[in-house]
């Protein structure tokens, strides 16, 4: 077994968040090592060939592969060892184990960063009854087949869920010569960014069916039909089933933070983000273990997943390996879907909170309150659940153990 014990920081996952953090950490003199399970670093951005990335960091509207090329260029001369084709297979007694072309590798270091990305929800998450034919894909996997493998996934496509990946794929498949009959969304509002509704659906006259869902599919070997129903305010099906003939169904029904390797023992999980509980450094309750990027919480923009990882670097530079005993807990209030961090240290000045709303918000106010004392307030003119917002709060103003984040 190969042992690598002379690194200050081990990063698991060489996607945008992991690579960005590795670069910034190395520049601060931290001896860093990266592992990635694929043969090429870059994570999911490799297959995101559309533009919309890098605006905040590079000031340009770039494709996913171009952002990765930028990062590769930036780390080229920094002398950061990168182990590709290396899968994390265990975490025991403060040691990480990888299965790699060099055999099993054991690492031990003071700090670990997990930037493992996310998994897609699949058919099992939404219970669609009926046959089990081929032709049903998660949208991200369809993106991999289309953009990385260059294969055609089908001819006549329906998409369930109006999240951004589904919208991007609708346009992509139209451009590759396929027919997209519509996007079905169970909620009365769409899940993706407004710009993607405009440039991916409206540009190509793809119908968006709000308050509609797919209840059943049929097909012998290949998918033949989907059965669609309108739903009421309580998301219960109403009216008659409508049939659509399609040979392919894409599921764009949400992402889940990927932290399975950490879950098996004492990691504290947030039931709202489904990622770990962290403090303002994105430090978990496990000693020396930080989680960043989409394995922490699902970010709306890659740039934000990258820049927010600097919180973890800040923690490492301050030598933080465990939570302070005394901390402030943030509680979820009205119209808030989720947020990170969930806890913050006391009297540390300004701390950034990333949050999402639970439904579209027009002309309301966001508050962070301690009992009836307002710590922070901000007017919200318009905010969609697809967008992640950030606020800077002053921890010096907080006296109690608990504050509540809410929109009224």
């Amino acid at each position: 077994m190969v042992k690598l014990n002379n690194f200050d920081l081990v990063i698991v996952g060489g996607g945008p968040a992991g690579l960005f953090l590795a670069k910034e950490a190395k520049k601060k003199g931290i001896n860093v090592l990266i592992f990635d399970r694929e043969d090429r670093i870059g994570g999911i951005l490799k297959q995101c060939i559309h533009t919309g990335f890098g605006l905040e960091i590079y000031g340009k509207d770039l494709t996913g592969p171009e952002v990765i090329e930028n990062l590769k260029e930036e780390i080229k001369n920094l002398d950061i060892p990168i182990f590709t084709k290396s899968m994390c297979i265990g975490f025991e007694d403060g040691k990480l184990y990888f299965y790699s072309p060099k055999g099993v590798i054991e690492t031990k270091s003071d700090y670990y960063i997990f930037s493992l990305g996310a998994r897609e929800r699949n058919r099992g998450s939404v219970f669609i009854e009926g046959d089990r034919p081929s032709g049903i894909f998660t949208a991200g996997f369809a993106q991999y087949i289309t953009n990385i493998l260059g294969l055609k996934i089908g001819n006549k496509i329906a998409i369930l869920g109006s999240g951004d990946i589904g919208l991007i794929m609708a346009r992509r498949l139209i451009l590759e010569g396929m027919e997209v009959i519509g996007v079905f969304e169970i909620m009365p509002f769409y899940g993706g960014l407004p710009r993607n509704i405009r440039q991916c659906l409206e540009d190509f006259d793809i119908p968006l069916y709000l308050s509609h869902t797919i209840l059943k599919v049929s097909g012998d070997k290949r998918l033949k039909k989907i059965f669609v129903s309108e739903v009421d305010q309580n998301l219960k099906p109403i009216g008659n089933l409508k049939e659509f003939e399609v040979d392919t169904l894409l599921l764009s029904i949400g992402l889940l933070p990927e932290i399975d390797i950490l879950k098996k023992d004492s990691l504290k999980i947030d039931s709202k983000t489904l990622g770990p509980f962290v403090n303002q450094y994105f430090l978990t309750n496990k000693e020396g273990v930080y989680v960043i990027g989409n394995s922490l919480t699902i970010f709306d923009l890659v740039d934000k997943a990258m820049t927010s990882s600097l919180n973890a670097l800040d923690g490492i530079l301050k030598g933080k390996r465990i939570w302070n005993k005394d901390f402030i807990k943030i509680k979820k209030g009205n119209l808030i879907r989720n947020f990170v961090p969930q806890i913050i240290e006391r009297d540390v000045g300004f701390v950034k909170i990333y949050y999402r709303v639970s439904e579209p918000i027009i002309n309301k106010k966001l508050y962070l309150k301690e009992d009836n004392k307002i710590i922070f307030e901000k007017k919200i003119i318009a905010k969609y659940p697809a967008e992640m917002d950030e606020i800077l709060i002053n921890t010096d103003l907080i006296e109690k153990d608990e504050v509540i984040l809410e929109i009224l």
Binding site: I49, H50, P65, I148, L149, G150, R195, D203
Partner: protein, 113 residues
Amino acid sequence: MKEITCIVCPLGCRILIQGDNILNYKCKKGLEYAKNEITSPKRVLTTTVKVIGFERRRLPVRVDREIPKDKLFLVLREIKKIKIDKKVKRGEILIYNILNLSANVISCETIED
């Protein structure tokens, strides 16, 4: 009054068009987008092309400036003629001035091995 969603950046501002007036935009690029959207809408086109003789099968490519929306499929047809069988650098021009639209088709990735 007509509302259009700005696609310049992920903020997705809702720009209002009232006769000759453009309202509610938040930046210069947004204003320019709205003007174009009324007269001749433009879009960035990205796709992939075939790669031969390397481990990866596709190379992501894009146009280096926006092209008229109604020319997307014509440009796409030209781009699909490209086949990559040697090393290529990110940003390298694969087709100059495609269909005389003043845009080049460039590589988004470097292929070295």
